[in-house]
């Protein structure tokens, strides 16, 4: 478990992270969402032991990360701007990491390079941005660490590759104790992969929530009411977060359990009623709305 307590980091006069408290449980895909400058990369760099926190602490299983090689063997960090040694090939990079990470699997590296269609002995400098990202993920996976920090890693991957990486993560999570932590500024990118999402804004965490729990609490309902009085009554009883309509067809985002909502609506005997799946963005609109934030201004 990664735990950050009152974590703060300043760059000159800018608060990159300010009093952040966050817990990342093992065995899930954790998404770190926030706009540019929200502090995602800074958090990940502190979680990777690159930056030393100015205040507070960040630890894995209670052990401080900074300058602690024993703890640092538990994660692999993929930076936003993928870094490789100059004039090297993937095989040489793998050889380097093999000497550093005791569980690095060269066999798996060879296998994954083949699956992703990347040449092991080609100079990395000739790779495209997407290929470099793929290589980073492959190296990260093959390091066989407990945690994999991915800073904007999915940015630049085509949908097919993104899907391939997601299935790779899923496979590893099923096979071993593996927790990918993915930072992104794009909610839609993480929608179908994350179990838990933390929302960062201006160096602080606005919320961190398990998506299944969030989904159980917020619902999207499409319906046609019998008349305006019927709509008024239903809305009074329901906790409506957002409301849209096209003629008589209303789309409501409602907080509450599915049973509660169905009971209230059935009592009004609507002409048409259907529960729709919620997007991550809609969940966040509801959640951040409660906290008093305008999500549209926080995420894109």
């Amino acid at each position: 478990m990664i735990k950050a307590e009152n974590l703060s980091k300043k760059f000159d006069d800018i608060d990159a992270i300010k009093g952040l408290d966050l817990t990342i449980e093992d065995g899930q895909v954790f998404g770190l969402i926030g706009t540019n400058g929200a502090g995602k990369s800074t958090f990940l760099r502190m979680a990777a032991g690159i930056l030393k926190p100015d205040k507070g602490s960040i630890s894995i299983d209670g052990k401080e990360i900074f300058e602690n090689p024993e703890v640092k063997e538990d994660f692999f960090y993929i930076s936003d701007d993928t870094a490789f040694f100059s004039n090297t090939t993937p095989a040489e990079m793998a050889s380097f990491y093999q000497r550093i990470y005791k569980n690095f699997s060269m066999q798996r590296f060879v296998e994954l390079m083949g699956k992703f269609g990347l040449e092991r002995n080609r100079k990395i400098s000739t790779f495209s941005k997407g290929m470099k990202k793929q290589l980073s993920v492959i190296l990260g996976i093959c390091a066989m660490t407990r945690y994999l920090y991915c800073d904007e890693t999915f940015d630049g991957l085509d949908p097919v590759m993104r899907q391939a990486v997601k299935s790779l993560f899923a496979g590893d999570m099923a096979a071993r104790n593996f927790t990918p932590i993915i930072a992104s500024h794009n909610l839609r990118e993480l929608e179908d992969i994350c179990d838990t999402v933390g929302l960062l804004h201006r160096g602080g965490i606005i919320l961190s929530k398990n998506l299944d729990d969030a989904k159980a609490d917020v619902h999207k309902l499409q319906c046609v009411f019998r008349d305006d009085e019927s709509k008024e009554r239903a809305c009074k009883q329901l906790c409506v977060i957002t409301e849209e309509n096209r003629g008589k067809l209303y789309t409501l985002t409602i907080r509450g359990t599915e049973e509660e909502i169905e009971d209230i609506m059935r009592a009004e005997s609507p002409v048409y009623m259907e529960m729709l799946p919620l997007s991550l963005e809609e969940i966040f609109i509801s959640e951040t709305g409660v906290e008093g934030y305008d999500i549209k201004k926080i995420i894109c």
Partner: protein, 725 residues
């Protein structure tokens, strides 16, 4: 993974990233050692074949300058490769991506630092040792490197490796303290030159503002204020002690280099641990150091600016203008470098104010001398011994310099060896100097008058520069330089007491302390020509004894009225190839009875005019501004008169009497005698004694060119050589 294995893995992986510096190191060592040695062997072969040199000299040169420490090409690559290997090895500190890559690895920063540092040393050391072994084998096979001298070469190689480590670690320190490769290169430059630059500016300001400042030679620590200075020091000591098995004088600087390398390494290791990862790409890694670095550089550069503008404008206002310019320019440049933005020049005025304050304080201290450096003299009860040196009365002593350069610095000898116990005679002289300094210093500073000050500007007075050393009871030696009016009777009588004391004589006339084996030969010149004779040990001992007796009997009152007879030069030809064979010089006066007897006993001329009787013709060429004055005579009387009114220039300078009749005319006299032709360089000391024809030639010249000026004050230059007809 075990710690040792991880370290080995890190080293191995790091080496893969350093292939081009390795290639550069191999190439550098190959050319600087092997190619250079082969080329020089060819030169030695040719020189030996042409008998331009001897094998002993070649061996000494090979041992020191090819296979030893003082190989200039190796010293060059030591500095170059240390710089390249450090900046390339730690280039990850300048790039955030690579810095993050390394920072996220499960490796302690210090361990990574150790691995990279070690590789940087190996990159140089292995090619160096291999090439060095080849050079030694080549030297032995050619006979230029005697097997007995191999320890010298091995010691030199060890010193080279230590010096490489020192420069390398200093370059690493620059990399750790900065976050950008260009700034790191600038920092290396600062580390290399900061010490000498600060030392030099202090020296310049002391000389410019403190009129009693005496340059007492290098402060011992001056050799260690820069890694480059340490290398020069070791190279010098190695060269001067080329004949020894291991040059002992070079051991201390090598040990200091090794200790400094270790200290800097520990400092770097500590700093790398503290260095924030976000420093990559920034100018300075540690924010806290920014104002200090800026202030130090600002103050030093500004002080240089002030001095430069003062020299250009020859006005104190120029100095102030230079100070202002220096402050503004350094502030703007440093802030621009710090932020990589020209607009930053208009920020951080607080540090500009601090720098201004520091500069103002320094200038005020030098200007107004609040600590009374310039006028300080110790109480006599605090002084154990002392020394005095002035250009009065020392012309009759030549001593070999103790530093082995062969210069004859009597003043330096006096300041080093003289041990006066009579402080009561010295105190009034120093006191007069201090009083004069106090009265004149501000006027002289604002008038930019430093040079004239030292000799005085009052025609009725006879100012002389007097150097004083006091050895205090607390163990310190304090040096001062004053201008003292020797026309003052009290001053002169005090100096006379000092001059006549044995302590002064033993501290001035070096031959009194010499042993017979310090010189082998004696040479001198007279009208008969140049004479060089080898002296037996017992003759040398007799010479020293006679000289000692004469000097101890010498009184200022007597000798100041005498004219010197001849100059003898004592040499040691064994030293000729090392620096100079000249050892001691003696100017013989008529009152030196014992010495004159010794000279007569050994058939040594007792007068420079010896050979006058057999001289039948002289050709004179007097140098003058407009036209050389040529004159010739075969008349014996005229020849005698000509020589009576002149004196060899070296002897003319050695007279004690300031008010002699010496003119500003010098002449070259080509004397033809039965012994051959000899050329002698004379100064006209008494124009009235000169033959009429010669005097008329001078007067005609003056009438024509000097516009009525007398011969006594005629402004002329140096004698041109006459051709041998």
């Amino acid at each position: 993974m075990t710690s040792k294995r991880l370290f080995a893995n890190l080293c191995s992986e790091n080496r893969k990233r350093r292939l081009w510096p390795a290639a550069l190191s191999i190439a550098g060592n190959f050319f600087a050692q092997i190619v250079y040695a082969i080329l020089m062997c060819g030169v030695y072969d040719r020189r030996l074949l042409s008998k331009l040199t001897i094998i002993g000299d070649v061996q000494n040169e090979y041992v020191t300058k090819i296979a030893g420490f003082a190989n200039p090409c190796v010293l060059l690559i030591v500095c170059g490769l240390a710089f390249i290997n450090a900046l390339q090895g730690f280039s990850y500190l300048f790039d955030q991506r690579t810095s993050d890559l390394y920072g996220a690895l499960p490796v302690k920063r210090e361990k990574l630092f150790d691995a990279i540092s070690l590789n940087g040393v190996i990159l140089f050391v292995i090619p160096y040792i291999i090439c060095h072994i080849f050079v030694m084998i080549l030297g032995v096979s050619k006979g230029y490197l005697p097997v007995s001298r191999i320890p010298f070469c091995i010691g030199g190689a060890l010193a080279i490796i230590i010096c490489y480590c020192l420069v390398y670690v200093v370059c690493i320190l620059a990399s750790v303290m900065t976050g950008h490769v260009v700034v790191a290169a600038l920092a290396v430059f600062v580390f290399m030159v900061a010490g000498p630059a600060i030392e030099y500016i202090i020296q310049c300001y002391m000389l410019k503002f403190m009129f009693s400042y005496y340059v007492s030679g290098n402060w011992p620590l001056n050799d260690y204020i820069s890694p480059l200075w340490i290398i020069f020091k070791i190279a010098n000591e190695t060269t001067y002690n080329m004949k020894s098995t291991i040059p002992a004088a070079a051991v201390l600087p090598v040990v200091i280099a090794a200790v400094l390398a270790v200290v800097f390494y520990i400092l770097c290791r500590y700093l790398i641990k503290k260095r924030p990862a976000e420093a990559a790409g920034k100018a300075i890694s540690f924010k806290i150091t920014k104002p200090f670095i800026k202030c130090i550089i600002s103050v030093v550069v500004t002080l240089y600016f002030g001095l430069l503008f003062w020299e250009i404008s020859e006005s104190f206002l120029g100095f102030i203008f230079g100070i202002v310019c220096g402050l503004v320019i350094t502030h703007a440049v440093i802030e621009t470098i710090y932020e990589f933005d020209f607009k930053a020049s208009f920020t951080h005025f607080d540090t500009l104010l601090i720098s201004t304050g520091v500069v103002a304080i320094i200038v005020m201290i030098f200007l107004f001398d609040p600590f009374q450096y310039d006028t300080w003299i110790p109480r006599t009860d605090r002084v154990v011994t002392s020394a005095i040196s002035t250009n009065y009365g020392t012309g009759n002593s030549y001593v070999p310099s103790w530093d082995g350069y062969g210069t004859r610095d009597v003043s330096g000898y006096q300041m080093k060896y003289m041990k006066l116990t009579d402080q009561n005679s010295l105190e009034p002289i120093a006191m007069a100097g201090a009083r004069y300094t106090k009265a004149q210093r501000l006027k002289n500073i604002f008038d930019n008058y430093a040079y004239e000050y030292s000799t005085g500007d009052d025609d009725n007075k006879s100012f002389r520069s007097v150097n004083v050393r006091w050895d205090l009871k607390d163990g310190r030696s304090v040096y001062r330089r004053f201008s003292v009016d020797f026309s003052d009777k009290d001053i002169f009588s005090n100096f006379e007491k000092i001059f006549d004391s044995d302590e002064y004589k033993y501290g001035t006339f070096g031959l009194m302390n010499a042993s017979a084996d310090e010189f082998k030969s004696l040479n001198y010149s007279d009208l008969e020509g140049y004479h060089d004779l080898e002296l037996k040990t017992e003759d040398r001992e007799k010479l020293i004894e006679a000289y000692k007796k004469d000097i101890l009997n010498q009184k200022l009152e007597q000798i100041k009225n005498e004219k010197p007879l001849i100059e003898l030069n004592l040499t040691n030809p064994d030293l000729a190839r090392e620096y100079s064979e000249d050892r001691y010089g003696i100017v013989v006066y008529p009152s030196y009875k014992n010495l004159l007897k010794f000279m007569e006993d050994n058939c040594i001329s007792t007068d420079w005019k010896s050979g006058l009787d057999s001289t039948y013709n002289v050709k004179v060429s007097v140098y003058a501004d407009m036209n050389n004055i040529e004159w010739e005579t075969s008349d014996k009387e005229e020849i005698k008169a000509l020589l009576d009114g002149s004196m060899p220039d070296s002897l003319a300078y050695n007279t004690f009497n300031d008010d002699n009749d010496a003119t500003n005319y010098w002449m070259n006299v080509e004397a033809h005698s039965e012994y051959g032709i000899s050329n002698i360089y004379l100064r006209i000391t008494d124009i009235k004694k000169m033959p009429e024809g010669f005097r008329k030639a001078i007067e005609d010249y003056e009438k024509k060119y000097v516009d009525g000026a007398s011969i006594k004050t005629g402004n002329t230059g140096w004698v041109s050589l006459v051709s041998n007809q």
